[in-house]
Amino acid sequence: MIFTTFKRITRTGFVNFWRNGFLSFAAIVVITLSLSAFGGLVFASAFGRSLLADVKDKVDINVYFTLTAPEKDILALQKEIEALPEVADVTYVSAEKALSSFKEKWQNNALIMQGLTEVGGNPFPAALNVKAKDPGQYGNIANFLTSKNTEDQSGSTIIDKVNYEENKIIIDRLSAIIPTVEQVGLTVSLILILVAIIIVWNTIRLIIYTAKDEIAVMKLVGASNIYVRGPFIISGIMYGVVSAILTLVLMAGFAYWSDSIVLRLAGVDVAANFSLIVNVLSAYFVHNFPQIFILIMGSGILLGGVASYVAARKYLRV
């Protein structure tokens, strides 16, 4: 009996979906737009996070050592810095490595290579690149470095300079901007989602309103509530499923289109240097497809189904 009821409700839901073609179309358009807003938020946050990570990654402080500083003192200092709780990562760039990476970078520029030969020897100091876990913590790390007694056996300091002051401005701004951007993003997202839910809810309410006389007849013929409401819920879920599929197709299209747009705007050379920014969306989409699928499909089904369930309730009181 339960199976028969379920079968009949599902069949009626499908038939109604098909016969109320225009209303179904309207609902699908509205739900697709709302889900696309969700999708847009997902992409915006993915892009924003990738951009922020990229910027955060580019910010560091560099400790440059004097040309005479012994390597073992530098390595000892590296150990000490690594032990600090604020520090995420410390890389040691030896003088030789700095020279070879410089040569590699400018190997095609005859003028610069000539200049380098003229200087003679290795003009590059050894350096430690220090990355903090959070941009706000660079101040502490810089303080640690300046307060530290960094002298070698001969009594001369091994640190030539710490470029914290130079980076301070950008670091301070980033530390201030990042939380604000995240908060604004979250607020805007919540408002958008709320608006989307309200619009979908109203559309479905109107659709069910057009059927209110029929709901009354069904009730007066002796149909139970589930029998009357069930098909509406099935139709609602179908609106959600169809809209979700459309939205996923739109998202995939947008992700790949955005790649080519970034490439075209920035040029292939520049884009190659910012590998993080190119392919962000398509890579994100492919990588997180199961989660995105569940999010969009789930939201669609939930929006359509729950809105139908609640909207039909009002007219069942016959």
């Binding site: 009996m1 028969t4 009949r8 038939v15 109604n16 016969r19 109320n20 006389d213 029929e214 007849v217 069904m218 009730k219 007066l220 013929v221 002796g222 149909a223 139970s224 509530n225 029998y227 016959v318």
Partner: protein, 226 residues
């Protein structure tokens, strides 16, 4: 079988639809309720299927007060009563077949019974050839016959027909009366409201006459007197 016990209905705008009405209906009776528009005929019908509530008094079906039921019991009760409305009230986006099948589905009949009974009942009202049409493709008389088919297909104990001929021409009117009489002969209690003298005379049987929300006459084998 049906008993109206001192029923009054006063609408929120203070108009009195029913004023202390009491009468009973025996099983297998064919009762015609006559009266001018606004005499309270439709309200009587609405109270029986609990579409509306009385201000005072109670309506009983056998020993059950129809207004003291929960949702589930109410649905069950309504399945015992086949209702024919003046404005047909067919479901517009369902075919004739589906409109009738719906009533059977709602009362939990099997697919097998539905497939067998729907064409049969449509033959009874002479509409077998319109089985796959939609209501808007039918004439008024045809729609009303579909509504009757929907009401009788579940073989209810009672048929209530609220001015079923109100929108029909004389030929269709007598066709409807003929069908209702046939149903009554097969053992179903029929409760019919009308303000059509011809219908009353054609039915014969008991006539309850209403005026201003009161029962003013109750004749065992009545004529139309107003």
């Amino acid at each position: 079988m049906i008993y109206y016990d001192k029923v009054s209905k006063i609408y929120p705008d203070k108009s009195v639809a029913l004023d202390n009405v009491s009468f009973g209906i025996e099983p297998k009776e064919f009762v015609t309720i006559v009266g001018h528009s606004g005499a309270g005929k439709t309200t009587l019908m609405k109270l029986l299927i609990a579409e509306d509530y009385p201000t005072e008094g109670s309506v009983f079906l056998e020993s059950t007060n129809v207004h003291n039921l929960n949702k589930k019991q109410m649905s069950k009760l309504r399945r015992r009563i086949g209702t024919v409305f003046q404005d047909y009230r067919l479901i517009q986006n369902k075919t004739i077949y589906e409109n009738i099948a719906f009533a059977m589905e709602a009362s939990g009949r099997t697919d097998h019974e539905i497939a067998a009974d729907v064409p049969h009942v449509l033959e009874l009202v002479d509409l077998a050839h319109k089985i796959w049409n939609f209501p808007h493709e039918l004439s008024g008389g045809e729609r009303q016959r579909v509504a009757i088919a929907r009401a009788i297909v579940t073989q209810p104990d009672i048929i209530i027909a609220d001015e079923p001929t109100g929108n029909l021409d004389p030929t269709n009117t007598f066709e409807i009366v003929r069908i209702l009489k046939k149903i009554n002969e097969m053992g179903t209690t029929v409760l019919l409201t009308t303000h059509n003298k011809g219908v009353v005379d054609a039915v014969g049987g008991r006539v309850i006459t209403m005026e201003n929300g009161k029962v003013i006459r109750d004749d065992k084998s009545g004529k139309y007197i107003l």
